[in-house]
Amino acid sequence: MIRFDNLSKRYPGGFEALKNVSFEMEAGEMAFLTGHSGAGKSTLLKMLMLMERPTSGNLLINGKNLNRLSNSQIPMYRRQVGVVFQNHQLLLDRTVFDNVALPLQVSGYPSSEIGRRVRAALDGVGLLDKEQQKPIALSGGEQQRVGIARAVVHKPRILLADEPTGNLDPELSSEIMALFRRFQNVGVTVLIATHDISLINRMQLRIMRLEEGELSDDGATYVS
C-alpha cells in the first residue's frame, strides 16, 4: 500500500530532513513512526500527504508513483488519505458538523449523503450530540476526536496521524488508539507518528524509528 524507495528530502539551505528512507506497509497494517523532534517524522508524513515533494527517491502508493502526479492531480490523491493533526486544524468559525463535512463537500457529495456520513463518523467517535457546537466549546480530547472524525468521514484507504495524543492524558490516549484500531480492522492502513513511548509500548505494533532523517530501526514492537 505504502512504499518508500530510497527517499531523501533536502530543504533549501542544505538541511537533510530524510536520508534514503525505504520501507513498506501492507494494506490494513498499523504502525508507529517514532523518533526525537526534528528526526523527520513530520517531513515523512508531509511526503505522504504530498504537501512536499522528495528531493530524490520514490514514494509509491498502491503501486502508483507520487512523483508522477501533477499538482492538479494532488486533490484526487488526497481524497484517499485521512490525516489527524497534532493541533487538530479545526476551523473555529464552523460547527463540528461543518468541520467534519468538509472532506465530503470538497469532493462534491450531495447534502443528504453528507448528513448521513457525517453523523455516522461523529457517532463513531462518540460526539453525535455535539454536532452543532463550535470546536472551541469542546475539550482537548473531544477536539481531537472531531479531527479523527474528519479524517475518516470520506473512508480513506490510508490514515495518517501526527502526534494524535500530544496533549492528552493516558486514558484519553488509549481511547484514541482504540479508535484507530477499529479503522485498521475495516482495512484502513494506519501510520501514527508519536514520541509517546509509554503509548507505543502498550500497543504491540510495528515501530519505525527515525534518527536524524535515517530509518534506524524498523520492526520492533517495543522501545526501551
Binding site: 515533494r53 494532488i74 488526497r78 476551523l91 469532493s107 457529495y109 450531495p110 449523503e113 482504540a178 475495516v186
Partner: protein, 336 residues
C-alpha cells in the same frame, strides 16, 4: 468519558458504504446536484461575508464605483457632443450662388446637372425673388430694400450632400469643385470647418475616455485584488485545511471569485446610479438651453446596452482581480 462502541446501525452504514465505494464513485447526477448546491451556498456565504463587514464593503464599492463612473461619464459626454454634431451635420448644406442674369433655361439645366451628381442627396432652388421675400421677412430691412431699384440677391441652390459617418471632407471638397466648374455658378460655399474640428475633438475625447477607463480599470483590478488578498489572509487556515482534505484549486478559488464578482457588480451598479443621478440633475438645464436654440436636442443616457456593458466591465474586473489574488496565493502553497 468513554468512547462509545460502534453502534450496530453505524456499523451497517460503514460496511454498506465500504462495499459501495471508497468515495470516488459518486453518481454524475448526485455530483451535479452537489455542485449546484455548493455554488448556491458559496454565493450566499460570499454575500454574507460582505454584509457582515458593511463599512469595509461600502468603502471598496465606493472606490470601484467612482473609478468606473469617471470614464463612463466622460465617454457619455463625448457621445452627447457627437450627437450634437451629427444634428448639425445632417443640415450641412452647400450653398451654390447662381450668376446674376442667368437665363431660366441655364438655371434649369444647372438643376438637372446638380441632381445628376453622385454624392448629392437633394437640391432646393431659391429664386432671387424668393430670396428677397425671405430676407425682407426675416431681416427687418424691408423698408430699406424697397428703395433699391434692383434685387441685389442672387438665385441660390441649396445642395444637401449625402453625408456618411464620419464625414469625408475630401469627398465634399471634390463635390464643391465639380459644382464650381458648372457654367452659371458664381460661387460655392460651405461652413463645415468647425464641424470638422468638433469631430477631431470628440475623437480625442473618446480616446481620453478610453485611456482613463483603462487606467482606472487597472485601479479597480488592484482595489479588488487587494480586498481579496486581505480576505485570503484572514482565511489562510481554512485554505490550508481545504487543500489538505483534497479540495481543488477551483474549490478554493470559488468563494473569492464570487466575492470579487459581487464587489465588481455592486461597484458598477453604484456607478450607474451616480451617472443617472447626474444626468437627472443636468437634463432640465440642458433641455431649457436646447429650447432657446429651437433644438429638440436632449441628453443621452447610458441606455440598457450601456448599463449592461458597465455591469459586464465591473463584473469582469471583479473576477479578474480576485483571480489574480487567489492564484498567487495558491501558487505560493503548492508543494515543493
Amino acid at each position: 468519558m468513554t468512547v462509545l462502541p460502534m453502534s450496530a446501525n453505524q456499523r451497517a452504514g460503514r460496511d454498506g458504504a465500504q462495499r459501495g465505494a471508497s468515495g470516488k464513485n459518486i453518481r454524475f447526477g448526485d455530483r451535479w446536484r452537489g455542485y449546484k448546491s455548493h455554488h448556491r451556498a458559496t454565493i450566499r456565504e460570499s454575500l454574507g461575508k460582505l454584509l457582515r463587514e458593511p463599512l469595509q464593503t461600502l468603502m471598496t464599492v465606493a472606490v470601484i464605483a467612482i473609478a468606473l463612473a469617471l470614464p463612463a461619464a466622460l465617454y457619455l459626454t463625448v457621445e452627447n457632443i457627437q450627437q450634437l454634431g451629427s444634428n448639425f451635420e445632417s443640415s450641412a448644406q452647400i450653398t451654390v450662388f447662381v450668376k446674376k442674369g442667368a437665363q431660366p433655361q441655364a438655371i434649369e439645366s444647372l438643376r438637372t446637372q446638380l441632381d445628376g451628381l453622385s454624392g448629392v442627396d437633394s437640391t432646393t432652388y431659391i429664386s432671387a425673388k424668393q430670396a428677397l421675400l425671405e430676407f425682407k421677412a426675416l431681416s427687418g430691412f424691408g423698408s430699406a430694400l424697397r428703395d433699391l431699384d434692383e434685387n441685389p440677391l442672387p438665385a441660390v441652390f441649396l445642395v444637401q450632400p449625402a453625408v456618411s459617418e464620419p464625414i469625408d471632407m475630401g469627398q465634399i471638397n471634390r463635390l464643391m469643385t465639380k459644382i464650381a466648374s458648372f457654367a452659371v455658378v458664381d460661387d460655392v460655399q460651405i461652413d463645415m470647418v468647425w464641424l470638422q474640428r468638433l469631430h477631431s475633438l470628440t475623437e480625442m475625447g473618446r480616446k481620453v475616455a478610453l485611456a482613463l477607463g483603462a487606467t482606472l480599470g487597472l485601479g479597480v483590478l488592484l482595489v479588488i485584488g487587494n480586498t481579496i488578498r486581505l480576505s485570503i489572509q484572514s482565511r489562510r487556515d481554512e485554505i490550508i485545511v481545504i487543500k489538505l482534505v483534497g479540495g481543488t484549486n477551483a474549490y478554493v478559488r470559488r468563494p473569492f471569485l464570487y466575492t470579487g464578482l459581487l464587489l465588481g457588480l455592486f461597484g458598477a451598479l453604484s456607478a450607474a446610479i451616480m451617472i443617472y443621478a447626474s444626468l437627472l440633475w443636468l437634463s432640465s438645464s440642458v433641455a431649457s438651453l436646447a429650447d432657446l436654440y429651437q433644438s429638440q436636442y436632449r441628453l443621452q443616457g447610458l441606455g440598457f446596452v450601456g448599463f449592461l456593458g458597465l455591469m459586464g466591465l465591473g463584473g469582469m474586473f471583479g473576477l479578474g482581480g480576485a483571480w489574480i489574488a487567489v492564484s498567487k496565493h495558491l501558487r505560493d502553497i503548492e508543494p515543493k
